[in-house]
Amino acid sequence: MVTDVVRLHLADAEATAALGAALARVLRAGDLVILTGDLGAGKTTLTQGLGRALGVRGQVASPTFVIAREHAPLADGPGLVHVDAYRLGGLTELDALDLDSSLAESVTVVEWGAGLTETLAEDRLDVVIDRARGDAVDEGRQVSVRGIGARWDGVDLAAALQA
């Protein structure tokens, strides 16, 4: 019930946003994306690309201050719920956000959520972004994507994301 890991190299912020747009094409209402990466890895940039491709209202920006931002769809199709779990300490705190209410009609992207949010949905897409550490000169990002649960059985992520 776990897909193969798709590994990608992203040269710059534009490539990160483009991966978000590619993800938008395989995501549908009710899907959960768990986005993991250090501060500055490009989680919000990826979500901006995803939001633009989905066609949602309002500017997708960092959700850290408000924890969760909801973006309604501009036309038919799912909206976007953009959550920053960075400041949450555990599952009980996540419950206080009442996230379940909008999950079914939206694509939900949780930044920094590994280990916290998996119980929200059995099915999820795990996206891990690594940036170079410290003084290294590499500005690129290494990304790995894998689907977990029945939702992603038979979905050819490699074809969808490497196109």
Binding site: G40, T44, S62, I67, L97
Partner: protein, 351 residues
């Protein structure tokens, strides 16, 4: 004070402060704020659902306290103004529903006004009438916006805003990187005063070449935040000592430099001689210093309200409501909808 000027009650509930104020003309009669900050402390920040419930509990007592402090009753109120956006939907809904009920019950006009423009409008209560046109830089944990204000009640143009993190938010994140308590803003500011602002050359976002041409008045603080993270990682990996004060000072310098440089460029391009700085981040000492220094050199007057009027409060909403009444702007409809991402060119919800 002209007694004939209308008495405006303003309600602010866009985030975690419940604010109610009474303004007659440009005179502030009372300003009362209740904050749910303590209830958010365990999350290290705002939680939308917690904030909405706190507004619900605080709204009526705050209205009563403001009326008592002003020595007036509800029957004296001539108009009600409420921040109907931008902000958290649940929080906006509580304040707006309360304002509608008051306006309907009292038979007075209702104005759904823009919270961000309120951050500029409040300065009229402190420093007197605005000049014909001015620039407003509104900076806080949730906003970093540059506005050209031709008339605070009728004509506001959004020149730019942050494309990623707000200025205050970048400070909170760097505070966390430096191991300082939440919210990091004031802690980083204090530490920065002991450091060398030129010690580390951190990047200035959207400030060069094609990016500057494409985003002359937009801000980006995400790359700066990443640069700070990588600098700290680099020192840790190399086992080198570093000065947290120098990091804080160099980071603060980069934020203040970009904000002031872009703002002054807009002043020059639009031939504006007055700058109003509002929002909670205007408390930042380096921003105040640098704005004062460079604006004096450029012949631009800087107006910054005292800090209690820079954080969210009812006075800013009552002040903007009063300006709308004075300008003869038509009130908003009683069925006005809250707008969590209200356009910054919209001063009030049209009839």
């Amino acid at each position: 004070m002209a007694v004939s000027e209308p008495l405006v009650l303003g309600i602010e509930s866009t985030c975690d402060e419940t604010g109610v104020a009474l303004v007659r003309g440009r005179e502030l009669l009372a300003d009362v704020t209740a904050s749910s900050m303590d209830e958010h402390a365990r999350f290290g920040g705002i939680v939308p659902e917690v904030a909405s419930r706190a507004h619900l509990e605080a709204l009526r007592p705050t209205i009563t306290a403001a009326l008592d402090a002003a020595g007036v009753t509800l029957a004296d109120v001539d108009a009600v103004a409420v921040a109907s956006g931008p902000g958290l939907v649940g929080s906006l809904t509580v304040g707006t529903a309360g304002a509608k009920a008051l306006a309907l019950g009292l038979g007075v006009p209702l104005y759904g006004v823009n919270h961000v423009i309120g951050h500029a409008a409040v300065d009229e209560l402190v420093h007197g009438p605005f000049p014909e046109r001015f620039l407003a830089l509104v900076v806080s944990g949730g906003h970093s916006s540059l506005l050209l204000v031709n008339d605070v009640a009728t004509d506001v143009v959004e020149l730019g805003q942050t494309l990623d993190d707000a200025a205050g938010e970048a400070f909170d994140k760097v505070g966390r990187l430096l191991g300082l308590p939440y919210p990091g803003g004031p802690h980083v500011d204090r530490l920065a005063r002991q450091g060398d602002p030129a010690a580390i050359a951190f990047p200035r976002g959207l400030s060069k070449g094609r990016e500057l041409a494409r985003h002359p008045y937009d801000f980006s603080f995400s790359g700066l935040k990443t640069a700070v993270a990588r600098y700290l990682e680099g020192r840790a990996d190399a086992g080198e000592e570093y000065s947290p004060a120098d990091v804080a000072a160099s980071f603060s310098e980069a934020v203040a430099d970009v904000l002031v440089t872009k703002t002054l460029r807009a002043c020059a391009e639009h031939d504006v001689r007055t700058l109003v700085i509002g929002g909670g981040f205007s408390a930042n000492s380096r921003l105040r210093e640098l704005a004062a220094e460079r604006c004096a050199a450029a012949g631009v007057e800087v107006r910054i309200p005292p800090i209690r009027y820079c954080t969210d409060n009812g006075a800013m909403i009552a002040a903007l409501g009063s300006a709308l009444v004075r300008a003869g702007v038509a009130p908003s409809p009683l069925d006005l909808a809250v707008d969590s991402s209200m356009a910054l060119s919209l001063v009030s919800v049209p009839a």
